[in-house]
Amino acid sequence: MIAGLAFYAFAAVLIASAVMVVSSRNPVHSVLYLILAFFNAAALFLIAGAEFLAMILVIVYVGAVAVLFLFVVMMLDIDFTQMREGFQRYAPIGAVIGGILFLELLFVFGAWQSAGQAEALRLNPAPEGVQNTVAIGQVLYTDYIFLFQGAGFILLVAMIGAIVLTHRDRLRSKRQDIGAQVARRTQLDMASVPLGASIGQLGILRPLPPEEEKPKAVTHGQHGHEDHGHGGHH
């Protein structure tokens, strides 16, 4: 009973927030409603006993994808009046496209035939005595490993393609070469500088004098540093 109530509550919030995604005026609010919708979908997965899928949905979509959405949408400078200008003109076309998609959905569900074993599989999707996560792992990585790897390769190619298309070397930008910086000095010299002496009298140590064969004599300054040079790697 409680599970049933929870299902209807989550489903109602899911549908309501999905409506708000398309109908709210501010795109940032839209994205936040989208996140709420993801959450409720995850809760529905949990009720269905698919805890792994629920967590992955939250981690991937809410934790990563929606953050990037929000990131982009927050920085957009949108003129709302301009956005609403063409609404009257495009409304009929939109309605036609929506109607066609709706009809297609109707056809699909009208002609839907599930396989004979589907009913039993739907009731207990995971094999006997195996956790949900393990069951998904077996299907993905054992039974259908080649298809899975193929899908991974397609995504990799898409990613490399996107990088190749958009990546440009900006010639004028300055880059930090950490290796060069780290390799710049081979040793640190501590020196006690006489009080009151100016740079004109002492001279500037630049460039560094050529390296000589001398023991690492660390002349302690008046502050008495004990162990410098272990400041961690940066």
Binding site: I2, V28, L32, I35, E51, F52, M55, I56, V58, I59, V62, G63, A64, V67, L68, L70, F71, M74, M75, Q131, N132, T133, Q176, I178, G232, H234
Partner: protein, 351 residues
């Protein structure tokens, strides 16, 4: 739950048992467990702020808070009282609802993650199968409190802080994910209790030492702590994402940040430092009960958090991104492959 031989002597016990098995009983039991966890946690958060100020003071040869109460022990409560008395200011241009929601979200997320943390064997409020994923999901949601706060404040500084935070947390989550996967490979389960029990002979920080270091540094970045506290970098962004917050809404951010630190420390403890297990299962060590060991290890991690803050200067933003994407990600990926290969070759794969 021992069997009752006679009806009369333990009649009361049976009534209690029946009550605890009814839905209301389960609910009240869960509420009691939650309170038993959250009240010490919040007190721990209060004293974490005190300890941080004391430790940093000691490291900088100062005294730290020492006026309110003995050794300044009542300082956190004085601070909390002050926060409560202040006025909550909502800026005129702010998006009101989101502005007030953001600190609540941060605080709630920092609290609900504790539902799965096993302080001792069988002591988790919800010992779920996918505990690690749950923690990872909740910690990846932490960014929303910050990003919503930054946007809703309608202030440039807050917004820049929020953007930095979003980029930083998403970047470090990737390498954290790989570290967690490596640990999971060695355990063969996503359950936090199983992860701790798998470390009975050897804590994972010994065989997976590089991953331990990467994980710890990533938790620093994930909690926006020094040296990765760019989202609030006071020298350039005043206070970053919470510039516009005051009074209780600010206090909620503050509590959330420190609760997150404790959460991340306990996650480090569970994944690498053997949870509630004593270092050696021998006489002087196993006299201390498990939760005490757990708390000691968490305190150690928290001390390192503070130590790092007192020691290291803040990273520059591009260096932070470089560290996350070009150093940690490749290292953790290679180590993941190495671990998998070693487990397969030597036949150490669990189950």
């Amino acid at each position: 739950m021992r069997p009752c031989p006679g009806a009369d002597p333990c009649h009361g016990g049976r009534v209690m048992e029946d009550f605890l098995n009814s839905p209301i009983g389960i609910l009240s039991l869960t509420v009691a467990q939650t309170l038993a966890l959250l009240v010490p946690l919040l007190i721990g958060v209060a004293y974490m702020t005190w300890a941080e100020r004391k430790i940093m003071a000691a490291m900088q040869l100062r005294k730290g808070p020492n006026v309110v109460g003995p050794f300044g022990l009542l300082q956190p409560f004085a601070d909390a009282g002050k926060m409560l008395m202040k006025e909550t200011i909502v800026p005129a241009g702010a998006s009101r609802v989101l502005f007030i929601m953001a600190p609540m979200l941060t605080f709630i997320l920092a609290m609900i993650a504790w539902a799965v943390i096993p302080v001792n064997e069988g002591w988790a409020i919800a010992d779920i199968n996918v505990g690690v994923l749950y923690l990872f999901a909740i910690s990846s949601l932490g960014v929303y409190g910050i990003i919503i706060a930054g946007w809703a404040s309608n202030s440039k500084y807050a917004f820049l802080g929020a953007l930095r935070s979003a980029a930083q947390m998403v970047s470090y989550e990737v390498s954290m994910g790989f570290v967690i996967v490596t640990v999971l490979l060695c355990v063969g389960s996503l359950n936090l209790t199983d992860i701790v029990l798998a470390q009975k002979g050897l804590w994972f920080f010994i065989p997976l030492f590089p991953m331990f270091i990467i994980f710890f540094i990533s938790t620093l970045a994930e909690t926006n702590r020094a040296p990765f506290d760019l989202p609030e970098g006071e020298s350039e962004l005043v206070a970053g994402f919470f510039v516009e917050y005051s009074a209780m809404s600010f206090a909620l951010f503050f509590l959330g940040e420190y609760a997150n630190m404790i959460l991340m420390s306990s996650l480090t403890t569970i994944l690498f430092l053997g949870g509630w297990l004593p270092p050696f299962d021998m006489a002087p060590f196993n006299w201390l009960p498990g939760p005490v060991w757990f708390i000691l290890k968490v305190c150690f991690c928290l001390f390192v958090f503070v130590w790092v803050r007192a020691t290291f200067p803040r990273y520059r933003y591009d260096q932070l991104m470089r560290l996350g994407w070009k150093v940690f990600l490749p290292i953790s990926l290679v180590w993941l492959v190495l671990t998998a290969a070693a487990l397969k070759i030597f036949g150490w794969l669990p189950a």
